[in-house]
């Protein structure tokens, strides 16, 4: 059973092919990062234009890599939300064109669930009950996955239950903003990660908002403001800041909040494993701290390799394969939903 997955929700044009739900056959990404770098963020119209230009060559490339043709596919899966509306529409329209041309089933995939489900390509069937932290440029949520993920149930929309989320900025957004403020390149996550390795994470005690409040929601915009205020204060005093220390301390504050809230949720809800998902799960400090903390707490930890954490087509194909197995198909009227929630 082969599923082709198309991902165009943000700034990566990506196509993946998955066989029998667990085997990755192709994963091709045409990144637009360089197009958006001069603006310090993703520009929706630039993204939509670039997706249209890149998509057909990316599909071709994936088919060559997998050594198969479109007519061999059992279904065409595509991210239908959340994301940038104009960008999503390019992928969904192309997916419909492919499905029409070969009379194949069409599957609408939730980008956020796909970030979690991609782990099945490296670790096999996800073993609930587990907590997943989905952390990216647009989202920071903690969800529970409680039911057994057999093929028949994988497409069940009720499987994911939202436990908590950021009430303001997403973690990736905070990384980008602070990176821009201290003059680092875009995207900010990898730049902060790199700079932070030379700094002391305990150098500056930035705030961890809501850390001791009950529940699993978090707030990151106050942290961002605190970093900016700290830098302005030094500037006013004529002191040169140690940017590596700033990056390391800022990153540590974000990571602390993620670790504490996710592990608290896992403990309180009786969840046995933690899955890290989304682009910010590529952050080395986040990965290391979760490894320590889960070990200490006796929790299992599932962390996809970095290329499967950032946006990719394989995750859409994997999630699509689960939905196909469950018989959850879309029709040709499939719309896009820029605000599609992770858990319904």
């Amino acid at each position: 059973m082969l599923v082709l997955g198309i991902e165009t929700s943000c700034d990566e044009t990506a196509v993946g092919i998955v066989e029998d739900r667990f085997t990755l056959r192709a994963n091709v990404i045409a990144s637009q990062v360089e197009l958006h770098a001069p603006y310090g963020g993703v520009v929706p119209e630039v993204a939509a234009r670039a997706h249209l230009e890149a998509l057909l060559p990316t599909i071709d490339h994936a088919l060559v890599e997998a050594g198969c043709g479109l007519s061999d596919m059992d279904a065409i899966a595509v991210t239908s939300g959340p994301g940038l509306i104009g960008a999503l529409l390019v992928g969904v329209s192309a997916a419909k064109g492919l499905a029409l041309a070969h009379d194949k089933p069409l599957i609408g995939v939730n980008h956020l669930r796909a970030h979690v489900e991609v782990a099945q390509l490296e670790f096999g069937e996800l073993q609930p009950p587990l907590a997943a932290l989905v952390v990216s440029g647009g989202h920071t949520s903690i969800v529970a996955l409680e039911k057994v993920g057999s093929g028949g149930e994988s497409g069940d929309d009720g499987r994911f239950r939202q436990l908590g989320a950021t009430i303001d900025d997403a973690a990736g957004e905070a990384f980008d903003k602070i990176a821009r403020f201290i003059g680092l390149g875009y995207p900010g996550g990898p730049e902060i990660d790199r700079l932070a390795r030379q700094g002391d994470p305990k150098a500056i005690d930035f705030p961890r908002a809501m850390l001791h409040e009950p529940g699993y929601d978090m707030s990151l915009s106050g942290l961002k403001t605190a970093v900016i205020r700290y830098l302005r204060r030094l500037e006013a005093a004529g002191t040169e800041p140690d940017l590596a220390d700033v990056a390391a301390s800022f990153q540590e504050a974000i990571v602390d909040v993620q670790v504490v809230k996710t592990l608290r949720a896992a403990r309180d809800e009786g969840l046995e494993r933690v899955v890290l998902a989304g682009g910010v799960a590529a952050n080395t400090r986040l990965r290391a701290r979760f490894a320590e903390a889960c070990e200490r707490e006796g929790l299992g930890l599932v962390v996809p390799s970095i290329p499967l954490c950032t946006d990719n087509g394989a995750m859409v194909a994997a999630s699509g394969a689960n939905l196909l197995a469950a018989g959850t198909l879309a029709d040709l009227e499939l719309g896009v939903d820029p605000n599609l929630p992770l858990a319904g």
């Binding site: 492919l98 029409l100 821009r180 040709l332």
Partner: protein
Amino acid sequence: MLILGIETSTGQSSVALVGTDGVVASASLGVARRHGEFVAPAVQFCLRQAGVGADRVTGVTVGLGPGLYTGLRVGIATAQAFAAARDLPVVGMSGLDVLAFQVRHVRRLIAAVIDARRGELFWALYRAVPGGVQRQTDLRVGTAEQLAAELEATGEECLVIGDGLSRATHELDRVGIETFAAVPDAAHLAELARPRFEREETQRPADLLPIYLRHADAKIGWEARGRMQGGAAT
């Protein structure tokens, strides 16, 4: 020969299947913002009405604009994916050419116009020639005043056909130019493209790109935003 035409450059999108003897099936929708949901089911509807499968289509033609960017991309992405999947030749056409073609029997100078939003219009001028129309100018983007001035300067009798003319009525009335409201539609598009398929003047699906006529407008917005958020720490 069975040509699939898709036109989504204005608020009214349409799909048509055109054979050697003319239109076999067509569908259109006048609700803007719903192109995304409309196009693929409309293709399926046309194939079913014609009683054929996707494998019987021999070519795909699509409107490249200028027009509403999001709609254009829906039409083009659907058309090129369909064509690529079936290994079919494609022909991309400007909606302005299609509009002028719709009034090809008019002996006057023809101005085809499409709403560009933000108070502007897209247009080009045409003249009837045996078998169709010939474009006389580049594709332009500008205000109704600029269009009226350009037409007035020709000193010729003109017919203005197109979409978004309500914006230009006052200016065009002032210089005494007749207007005719219309949108480019997929059946005319496919008819106009048919000779190109016959002569094998076709393109590859990946070559199809929208005619934007405007930059992505990103720089201004992001520079302003960068300043708002503090920009560099200096």
